[in-house]
Point group: C2
Chain length 202, copies 2
DNA sequence: TTGCTTGCTGACCTTTCGGTCATTAAATAT
DNA sequence: ATATTTAATGACCGAAAGGTCAGCAAGCAA
Protein backbone atom coordinates (compact mmCIF):
# COMPACT_ATOMS: atom_id res chain seq x y z
CA UNK A 1 0.00 0.00 0.00
CA UNK A 2 1.27 3.41 -0.93
CA UNK A 3 1.55 6.55 1.15
CA UNK A 4 -1.60 7.76 2.88
CA UNK A 5 -3.84 9.73 0.55
CA UNK A 6 -4.25 12.50 3.08
CA UNK A 7 -3.63 13.36 6.67
CA UNK A 8 -6.15 14.50 9.22
CA UNK A 9 -5.04 17.85 10.54
CA UNK A 10 -8.03 19.43 12.12
CA UNK A 11 -5.96 22.07 13.90
CA UNK A 12 -4.24 23.55 10.88
CA UNK A 13 -6.92 23.37 8.22
CA UNK A 14 -8.85 26.57 8.96
CA UNK A 15 -5.71 28.70 8.92
CA UNK A 16 -4.44 27.11 5.75
CA UNK A 17 -7.76 27.58 4.01
CA UNK A 18 -7.99 31.19 5.13
CA UNK A 19 -4.50 31.88 3.84
CA UNK A 20 -5.31 30.30 0.51
CA UNK A 21 -8.52 32.31 0.31
CA UNK A 22 -6.69 35.53 0.96
CA UNK A 23 -4.21 34.82 -1.81
CA UNK A 24 -6.97 33.96 -4.24
CA UNK A 25 -9.15 36.95 -3.33
CA UNK A 26 -6.15 39.24 -3.64
CA UNK A 27 -5.58 38.11 -7.20
CA UNK A 28 -9.11 37.90 -8.52
CA UNK A 29 -11.46 39.55 -6.05
CA UNK A 30 -14.10 37.84 -3.98
CA UNK A 31 -16.85 37.22 -6.51
CA UNK A 32 -14.53 36.11 -9.27
CA UNK A 33 -12.82 33.58 -7.04
CA UNK A 34 -14.29 30.09 -7.11
CA UNK A 35 -14.51 28.13 -3.90
CA UNK A 36 -12.97 25.21 -5.73
CA UNK A 37 -9.97 27.38 -6.52
CA UNK A 38 -9.48 28.19 -2.86
CA UNK A 39 -9.72 24.53 -1.98
CA UNK A 40 -7.20 23.62 -4.66
CA UNK A 41 -4.72 26.18 -3.33
CA UNK A 42 -5.16 24.89 0.17
CA UNK A 43 -4.52 21.36 -1.05
CA UNK A 44 -7.91 20.27 0.11
CA UNK A 45 -11.24 19.18 -1.30
CA UNK A 46 -14.14 21.54 -1.71
CA UNK A 47 -16.18 19.44 0.67
CA UNK A 48 -13.70 19.92 3.47
CA UNK A 49 -13.79 23.65 3.03
CA UNK A 50 -17.52 23.58 3.64
CA UNK A 51 -16.91 21.56 6.76
CA UNK A 52 -15.04 24.48 8.29
CA UNK A 53 -16.86 27.41 6.69
CA UNK A 54 -20.60 27.37 6.24
CA UNK A 55 -20.63 29.67 3.22
CA UNK A 56 -18.26 31.53 0.93
CA UNK A 57 -19.12 34.72 2.78
CA UNK A 58 -18.16 33.24 6.13
CA UNK A 59 -14.82 32.45 4.58
CA UNK A 60 -14.51 36.08 3.57
CA UNK A 61 -15.20 37.20 7.11
CA UNK A 62 -12.53 34.89 8.38
CA UNK A 63 -10.07 36.46 5.95
CA UNK A 64 -10.89 39.94 7.18
CA UNK A 65 -10.57 38.84 10.74
CA UNK A 66 -7.20 37.22 10.22
CA UNK A 67 -5.66 40.02 8.17
CA UNK A 68 -7.05 43.24 9.52
CA UNK A 69 -8.02 42.72 13.12
CA UNK A 70 -4.42 42.15 14.25
CA UNK A 71 -3.43 45.46 12.71
CA UNK A 72 -5.99 47.45 14.62
CA UNK A 73 -5.09 45.74 17.84
CA UNK A 74 -1.52 46.63 17.07
CA UNK A 75 -2.39 50.32 16.75
CA UNK A 76 -4.48 50.53 19.91
CA UNK A 77 -1.88 48.57 21.87
CA UNK A 78 0.87 50.90 20.72
CA UNK A 79 -1.26 53.84 21.71
CA UNK A 80 -2.04 52.50 25.16
CA UNK A 81 1.52 51.62 25.93
CA UNK A 82 3.03 54.81 24.64
CA UNK A 83 3.82 57.68 26.97
CA UNK A 84 4.84 60.00 24.16
CA UNK A 85 3.27 63.42 23.74
CA UNK A 86 0.55 63.70 21.11
CA UNK A 87 2.74 65.23 18.42
CA UNK A 88 5.60 62.85 19.07
CA UNK A 89 3.23 59.92 18.88
CA UNK A 90 1.78 61.14 15.60
CA UNK A 91 5.16 61.78 14.00
CA UNK A 92 6.55 58.52 15.32
CA UNK A 93 4.53 55.34 15.69
CA UNK A 94 1.37 56.61 14.02
CA UNK A 95 3.12 57.88 10.91
CA UNK A 96 5.04 54.63 10.62
CA UNK A 97 1.83 52.68 10.97
CA UNK A 98 0.10 54.73 8.28
CA UNK A 99 3.02 54.40 5.89
CA UNK A 100 3.06 50.65 6.25
CA UNK A 101 -0.57 50.19 5.31
CA UNK A 102 -0.56 50.81 1.54
CA UNK A 103 1.97 48.05 0.95
CA UNK A 104 0.45 45.64 3.40
CA UNK A 105 -2.10 42.91 3.06
CA UNK A 106 -4.63 45.17 4.72
CA UNK A 107 -4.77 47.27 1.57
CA UNK A 108 -6.09 44.28 -0.30
CA UNK A 109 -8.85 43.80 2.23
CA UNK A 110 -9.80 47.43 1.81
CA UNK A 111 -10.01 47.02 -1.93
CA UNK A 112 -12.21 43.98 -1.42
CA UNK A 113 -14.44 45.92 0.94
CA UNK A 114 -14.91 48.69 -1.60
CA UNK A 115 -15.86 46.17 -4.26
CA UNK A 116 -18.12 44.00 -2.18
CA UNK A 117 -19.66 46.38 0.33
CA UNK A 118 -22.80 47.20 -1.67
CA UNK A 119 -23.89 43.58 -1.75
CA UNK A 120 -22.77 42.46 1.70
CA UNK A 121 -24.14 44.77 4.37
CA UNK A 122 -23.38 42.41 7.22
CA UNK A 123 -19.78 42.35 6.09
CA UNK A 124 -19.77 46.13 6.35
CA UNK A 125 -21.19 45.99 9.86
CA UNK A 126 -18.53 43.53 10.83
CA UNK A 127 -15.77 45.68 9.36
CA UNK A 128 -17.18 48.77 11.00
CA UNK A 129 -17.32 47.22 14.46
CA UNK A 130 -14.01 45.43 14.36
CA UNK A 131 -11.87 47.82 12.35
CA UNK A 132 -13.08 51.22 11.20
CA UNK A 133 -14.77 52.50 14.34
CA UNK A 134 -11.87 51.36 16.50
CA UNK A 135 -9.28 52.99 14.30
CA UNK A 136 -11.14 56.27 14.26
CA UNK A 137 -11.63 56.12 18.00
CA UNK A 138 -7.90 55.67 18.46
CA UNK A 139 -7.15 58.68 16.30
CA UNK A 140 -9.72 60.77 18.14
CA UNK A 141 -8.14 59.76 21.41
CA UNK A 142 -4.73 60.98 20.32
CA UNK A 143 -6.15 64.30 19.16
CA UNK A 144 -8.12 64.87 22.35
CA UNK A 145 -5.12 64.00 24.43
CA UNK A 146 -3.19 66.67 22.55
CA UNK A 147 -5.89 69.24 23.14
CA UNK A 148 -6.08 68.47 26.85
CA UNK A 149 -2.34 68.74 27.27
CA UNK A 150 -2.34 72.08 25.50
CA UNK A 151 -0.27 70.87 22.56
CA UNK A 152 -3.11 71.33 20.08
CA UNK A 153 -5.77 73.97 19.70
CA UNK A 154 -9.45 73.15 19.18
CA UNK A 155 -10.19 72.70 15.50
CA UNK A 156 -12.32 70.87 13.00
CA UNK A 157 -9.66 68.18 12.81
CA UNK A 158 -10.63 66.73 16.17
CA UNK A 159 -13.99 65.74 14.76
CA UNK A 160 -12.56 64.67 11.44
CA UNK A 161 -9.96 62.02 12.12
CA UNK A 162 -10.68 60.89 8.56
CA UNK A 163 -8.16 63.55 7.54
CA UNK A 164 -5.48 61.16 8.69
CA UNK A 165 -6.99 58.30 6.76
CA UNK A 166 -7.45 60.23 3.52
CA UNK A 167 -3.87 60.07 2.20
CA UNK A 168 -3.64 56.41 3.17
CA UNK A 169 -6.83 55.67 1.27
CA UNK A 170 -5.55 57.71 -1.65
CA UNK A 171 -2.35 55.68 -1.70
CA UNK A 172 -4.21 52.39 -1.55
CA UNK A 173 -6.59 53.34 -4.34
CA UNK A 174 -3.74 54.67 -6.44
CA UNK A 175 -1.83 51.44 -6.01
CA UNK A 176 -4.88 49.41 -6.94
CA UNK A 177 -5.81 51.34 -10.04
CA UNK A 178 -2.55 52.80 -11.30
CA UNK A 179 -0.24 50.12 -10.02
CA UNK A 180 2.57 50.89 -12.42
CA UNK A 181 2.43 54.69 -12.40
CA UNK A 182 4.46 55.45 -9.36
CA UNK A 183 3.42 57.71 -6.52
CA UNK A 184 5.59 58.44 -3.51
CA UNK A 185 3.06 57.34 -0.94
CA UNK A 186 5.42 57.73 2.00
CA UNK A 187 5.94 61.34 1.12
CA UNK A 188 2.25 61.92 0.51
CA UNK A 189 1.36 60.61 3.94
CA UNK A 190 4.19 62.40 5.69
CA UNK A 191 3.29 65.71 4.11
CA UNK A 192 -0.32 65.30 5.18
CA UNK A 193 0.76 64.63 8.77
CA UNK A 194 3.04 67.63 8.63
CA UNK A 195 0.22 69.81 7.34
CA UNK A 196 -2.25 68.64 9.94
CA UNK A 197 0.19 69.24 12.74
CA UNK A 198 1.10 72.76 11.75
CA UNK A 199 -2.62 73.41 11.35
CA UNK A 200 -3.63 72.25 14.81
CA UNK A 201 -0.62 73.12 16.89
CA UNK A 202 -1.47 75.59 19.64
CA UNK B 1 -54.45 45.21 -34.98
CA UNK B 2 -53.12 46.82 -31.82
CA UNK B 3 -50.26 49.25 -31.51
CA UNK B 4 -46.95 48.14 -32.91
CA UNK B 5 -45.10 45.92 -30.51
CA UNK B 6 -41.91 47.88 -30.93
CA UNK B 7 -40.32 50.61 -32.98
CA UNK B 8 -37.10 50.39 -34.88
CA UNK B 9 -34.80 53.09 -33.59
CA UNK B 10 -31.31 52.11 -34.54
CA UNK B 11 -29.93 55.57 -33.84
CA UNK B 12 -31.01 55.84 -30.22
CA UNK B 13 -30.61 52.28 -28.96
CA UNK B 14 -26.91 52.28 -28.03
CA UNK B 15 -27.27 55.44 -25.95
CA UNK B 16 -30.39 54.20 -24.23
CA UNK B 17 -28.78 50.89 -23.42
CA UNK B 18 -25.62 52.45 -22.00
CA UNK B 19 -27.72 54.80 -19.89
CA UNK B 20 -29.70 51.88 -18.50
CA UNK B 21 -26.49 49.95 -17.90
CA UNK B 22 -24.98 52.87 -16.03
CA UNK B 23 -27.98 53.06 -13.71
CA UNK B 24 -27.88 49.33 -13.08
CA UNK B 25 -24.12 49.17 -12.52
CA UNK B 26 -24.37 52.10 -10.15
CA UNK B 27 -26.88 50.27 -8.00
CA UNK B 28 -25.46 46.76 -8.02
CA UNK B 29 -21.97 46.86 -9.47
CA UNK B 30 -20.80 45.21 -12.64
CA UNK B 31 -20.73 41.55 -11.73
CA UNK B 32 -24.02 41.54 -9.86
CA UNK B 33 -25.91 43.20 -12.68
CA UNK B 34 -27.59 40.80 -15.07
CA UNK B 35 -27.59 41.63 -18.73
CA UNK B 36 -31.29 40.86 -18.75
CA UNK B 37 -31.83 43.54 -16.11
CA UNK B 38 -30.08 46.12 -18.26
CA UNK B 39 -32.19 45.13 -21.22
CA UNK B 40 -35.35 45.39 -19.15
CA UNK B 41 -34.46 48.90 -17.98
CA UNK B 42 -33.73 49.96 -21.52
CA UNK B 43 -37.08 48.58 -22.63
CA UNK B 44 -35.39 46.20 -24.98
CA UNK B 45 -34.78 42.50 -25.37
CA UNK B 46 -31.59 40.83 -24.30
CA UNK B 47 -30.97 39.79 -27.87
CA UNK B 48 -30.94 43.36 -29.10
CA UNK B 49 -28.42 44.32 -26.51
CA UNK B 50 -26.09 41.69 -27.87
CA UNK B 51 -26.62 43.11 -31.32
CA UNK B 52 -25.04 46.38 -30.25
CA UNK B 53 -22.52 45.12 -27.70
CA UNK B 54 -20.58 41.94 -28.31
CA UNK B 55 -20.17 41.09 -24.63
CA UNK B 56 -21.09 42.32 -21.20
CA UNK B 57 -17.57 43.70 -20.80
CA UNK B 58 -17.84 45.74 -23.96
CA UNK B 59 -20.99 47.23 -22.54
CA UNK B 60 -19.12 48.08 -19.35
CA UNK B 61 -16.39 49.88 -21.23
CA UNK B 62 -18.93 51.82 -23.23
CA UNK B 63 -20.54 52.96 -19.99
CA UNK B 64 -17.30 54.18 -18.50
CA UNK B 65 -16.44 56.09 -21.62
CA UNK B 66 -19.86 57.67 -21.94
CA UNK B 67 -19.86 58.96 -18.37
CA UNK B 68 -16.26 60.03 -18.21
CA UNK B 69 -15.84 61.65 -21.57
CA UNK B 70 -18.27 64.56 -21.08
CA UNK B 71 -16.72 65.42 -17.74
CA UNK B 72 -13.16 65.52 -18.89
CA UNK B 73 -12.71 69.16 -19.63
CA UNK B 74 -15.01 70.76 -17.10
CA UNK B 75 -12.21 71.48 -14.66
CA UNK B 76 -9.62 72.55 -17.18
CA UNK B 77 -12.10 74.81 -18.96
CA UNK B 78 -12.95 76.50 -15.69
CA UNK B 79 -9.28 76.92 -15.00
CA UNK B 80 -8.48 78.41 -18.38
CA UNK B 81 -11.34 80.85 -18.28
CA UNK B 82 -10.70 82.03 -14.77
CA UNK B 83 -8.62 85.10 -14.05
CA UNK B 84 -8.75 84.63 -10.29
CA UNK B 85 -5.61 84.46 -8.19
CA UNK B 86 -4.44 81.01 -7.17
CA UNK B 87 -5.87 81.06 -3.66
CA UNK B 88 -9.15 82.58 -4.77
CA UNK B 89 -9.45 79.95 -7.49
CA UNK B 90 -8.78 77.16 -5.02
CA UNK B 91 -11.24 78.43 -2.44
CA UNK B 92 -13.84 79.18 -5.08
CA UNK B 93 -14.38 77.10 -8.21
CA UNK B 94 -11.94 74.31 -7.30
CA UNK B 95 -13.41 73.72 -3.86
CA UNK B 96 -16.91 73.71 -5.30
CA UNK B 97 -15.84 71.22 -7.95
CA UNK B 98 -14.27 68.93 -5.36
CA UNK B 99 -17.30 69.06 -3.11
CA UNK B 100 -19.62 68.14 -5.95
CA UNK B 101 -17.74 64.98 -6.87
CA UNK B 102 -18.68 62.59 -4.03
CA UNK B 103 -22.38 62.98 -4.74
CA UNK B 104 -22.08 62.91 -8.51
CA UNK B 105 -22.25 60.11 -11.03
CA UNK B 106 -18.50 60.30 -11.36
CA UNK B 107 -18.10 58.76 -7.94
CA UNK B 108 -19.79 55.62 -9.15
CA UNK B 109 -17.33 55.34 -11.98
CA UNK B 110 -14.51 55.57 -9.50
CA UNK B 111 -15.99 52.77 -7.45
CA UNK B 112 -16.31 50.66 -10.56
CA UNK B 113 -12.74 51.46 -11.54
CA UNK B 114 -11.45 50.35 -8.17
CA UNK B 115 -13.35 47.10 -8.40
CA UNK B 116 -12.63 46.27 -12.00
CA UNK B 117 -9.29 47.92 -12.73
CA UNK B 118 -7.14 44.85 -12.08
CA UNK B 119 -8.91 42.97 -14.82
CA UNK B 120 -9.28 45.79 -17.36
CA UNK B 121 -5.90 47.41 -18.00
CA UNK B 122 -7.05 49.09 -21.18
CA UNK B 123 -9.78 50.83 -19.23
CA UNK B 124 -7.19 52.09 -16.78
CA UNK B 125 -5.10 53.49 -19.62
CA UNK B 126 -8.14 55.25 -21.00
CA UNK B 127 -9.04 56.67 -17.61
CA UNK B 128 -5.50 57.81 -17.01
CA UNK B 129 -5.19 59.61 -20.33
CA UNK B 130 -8.61 61.22 -20.34
CA UNK B 131 -9.15 62.02 -16.68
CA UNK B 132 -6.52 61.42 -14.04
CA UNK B 133 -3.44 62.81 -15.75
CA UNK B 134 -5.34 65.87 -16.95
CA UNK B 135 -6.85 66.60 -13.56
CA UNK B 136 -3.51 66.33 -11.86
CA UNK B 137 -1.93 68.55 -14.49
CA UNK B 138 -4.60 71.18 -13.90
CA UNK B 139 -3.95 71.11 -10.16
CA UNK B 140 -0.24 71.38 -10.70
CA UNK B 141 -0.81 74.35 -12.97
CA UNK B 142 -2.76 76.20 -10.31
CA UNK B 143 -0.08 75.53 -7.73
CA UNK B 144 2.73 76.65 -10.00
CA UNK B 145 0.83 79.75 -10.94
CA UNK B 146 0.56 80.57 -7.25
CA UNK B 147 4.26 80.05 -6.71
CA UNK B 148 5.18 82.23 -9.66
CA UNK B 149 2.91 85.03 -8.53
CA UNK B 150 4.43 84.89 -5.06
CA UNK B 151 1.22 83.78 -3.36
CA UNK B 152 2.64 80.38 -2.42
CA UNK B 153 6.02 79.23 -1.25
CA UNK B 154 7.81 76.24 -2.73
CA UNK B 155 6.78 73.05 -0.95
CA UNK B 156 6.21 69.36 -1.37
CA UNK B 157 2.59 70.08 -2.20
CA UNK B 158 3.47 71.33 -5.67
CA UNK B 159 4.67 67.85 -6.60
CA UNK B 160 1.84 66.12 -4.74
CA UNK B 161 -1.43 67.43 -6.12
CA UNK B 162 -2.89 64.14 -4.88
CA UNK B 163 -3.22 65.91 -1.55
CA UNK B 164 -6.20 67.69 -3.04
CA UNK B 165 -7.67 64.46 -4.30
CA UNK B 166 -7.21 62.53 -1.07
CA UNK B 167 -10.21 63.87 0.88
CA UNK B 168 -12.40 63.53 -2.20
CA UNK B 169 -11.36 59.92 -2.57
CA UNK B 170 -11.90 59.38 1.14
CA UNK B 171 -15.41 60.78 0.85
CA UNK B 172 -16.25 58.64 -2.15
CA UNK B 173 -14.97 55.49 -0.53
CA UNK B 174 -16.76 56.29 2.69
CA UNK B 175 -20.01 56.82 0.86
CA UNK B 176 -19.58 53.54 -0.98
CA UNK B 177 -18.76 51.43 2.04
CA UNK B 178 -20.46 53.15 4.95
CA UNK B 179 -23.36 54.70 3.10
CA UNK B 180 -25.54 55.10 6.15
CA UNK B 181 -22.93 56.20 8.68
CA UNK B 182 -22.80 59.85 7.93
CA UNK B 183 -19.67 61.85 7.30
CA UNK B 184 -19.66 65.57 6.60
CA UNK B 185 -17.78 65.33 3.34
CA UNK B 186 -18.14 69.01 2.52
CA UNK B 187 -16.46 69.91 5.75
CA UNK B 188 -13.77 67.27 5.31
CA UNK B 189 -12.84 68.64 1.92
CA UNK B 190 -13.02 72.27 2.99
CA UNK B 191 -10.82 71.63 6.00
CA UNK B 192 -8.25 69.93 3.81
CA UNK B 193 -8.21 72.88 1.42
CA UNK B 194 -7.88 75.21 4.35
CA UNK B 195 -4.99 73.20 5.73
CA UNK B 196 -3.17 73.05 2.44
CA UNK B 197 -3.49 76.77 1.90
CA UNK B 198 -2.18 77.78 5.30
CA UNK B 199 0.62 75.31 4.74
CA UNK B 200 1.77 76.69 1.41
CA UNK B 201 0.98 80.36 1.70
CA UNK B 202 4.07 82.51 1.36
C1' DT C 1 -50.60 44.99 -52.53
C1' DT C 2 -46.44 42.52 -52.76
C1' DG C 3 -41.80 41.60 -51.77
C1' DC C 4 -37.57 42.59 -49.45
C1' DT C 5 -34.44 44.17 -45.84
C1' DT C 6 -33.17 44.26 -41.18
C1' DG C 7 -34.19 45.87 -36.33
C1' DC C 8 -35.89 43.21 -32.92
C1' DT C 9 -37.76 39.34 -30.01
C1' DG C 10 -37.65 35.64 -26.59
C1' DA C 11 -37.16 30.79 -26.08
C1' DC C 12 -33.34 28.05 -25.60
C1' DC C 13 -28.57 26.30 -25.02
C1' DT C 14 -24.43 25.82 -22.34
C1' DT C 15 -21.43 26.65 -18.83
C1' DT C 16 -20.37 27.95 -14.37
C1' DC C 17 -20.43 27.62 -9.62
C1' DG C 18 -22.10 27.54 -4.71
C1' DG C 19 -23.46 24.05 -1.93
C1' DT C 20 -24.72 18.85 -0.58
C1' DC C 21 -24.07 14.16 0.69
C1' DA C 22 -23.08 9.22 0.37
C1' DT C 23 -18.86 7.12 0.83
C1' DT C 24 -14.00 6.28 2.18
C1' DA C 25 -10.21 5.82 5.10
C1' DA C 26 -7.10 7.81 8.84
C1' DA C 27 -6.78 7.92 13.57
C1' DT C 28 -8.27 6.27 18.15
C1' DA C 29 -10.33 3.45 21.59
C1' DT C 30 -11.36 -1.13 23.33
C1' DA D 1 -7.39 -7.41 15.96
C1' DT D 2 -11.73 -5.12 15.88
C1' DA D 3 -14.97 -1.57 16.40
C1' DT D 4 -15.87 3.22 16.42
C1' DT D 5 -15.39 7.88 15.27
C1' DT D 6 -14.85 11.58 12.22
C1' DA D 7 -11.68 14.11 8.92
C1' DA D 8 -11.74 14.20 4.27
C1' DT D 9 -13.17 13.19 -0.54
C1' DG D 10 -15.33 14.03 -5.04
C1' DA D 11 -19.31 13.05 -7.79
C1' DC D 12 -23.40 15.28 -8.09
C1' DC D 13 -27.38 18.80 -8.02
C1' DG D 14 -29.95 22.91 -9.17
C1' DA D 15 -30.09 27.60 -10.00
C1' DA D 16 -28.29 31.41 -12.29
C1' DA D 17 -26.66 33.89 -15.96
C1' DG D 18 -23.96 34.91 -20.37
C1' DG D 19 -24.63 34.28 -24.94
C1' DT D 20 -27.14 32.36 -29.47
C1' DC D 21 -30.35 32.05 -33.13
C1' DA D 22 -34.53 30.93 -35.84
C1' DG D 23 -38.15 33.48 -36.79
C1' DC D 24 -41.20 37.63 -36.58
C1' DA D 25 -42.69 42.13 -38.02
C1' DA D 26 -41.76 47.28 -38.88
C1' DG D 27 -40.62 50.07 -42.44
C1' DC D 28 -39.63 50.93 -47.18
C1' DA D 29 -39.57 50.41 -52.26
C1' DA D 30 -41.85 49.39 -56.42
Amino acid sequence: MGPPRYQRRKQDRPQEITAAAFAAFAEKGFTATKVEEVARRAGVSKGLLYLYFKTKEELFKAVIRSVVAPRIDELTRTLDRSDLGAEAFIRGPLLAFMQRLPGSRASIVIRLMISEAPRHPDLVDYYWDKVASRGLAALRQVLERGVESGEFRESAVTELPQLFVAPVMMSIVWGTVFAERSLDTDRLIETQVDMILSYIKA
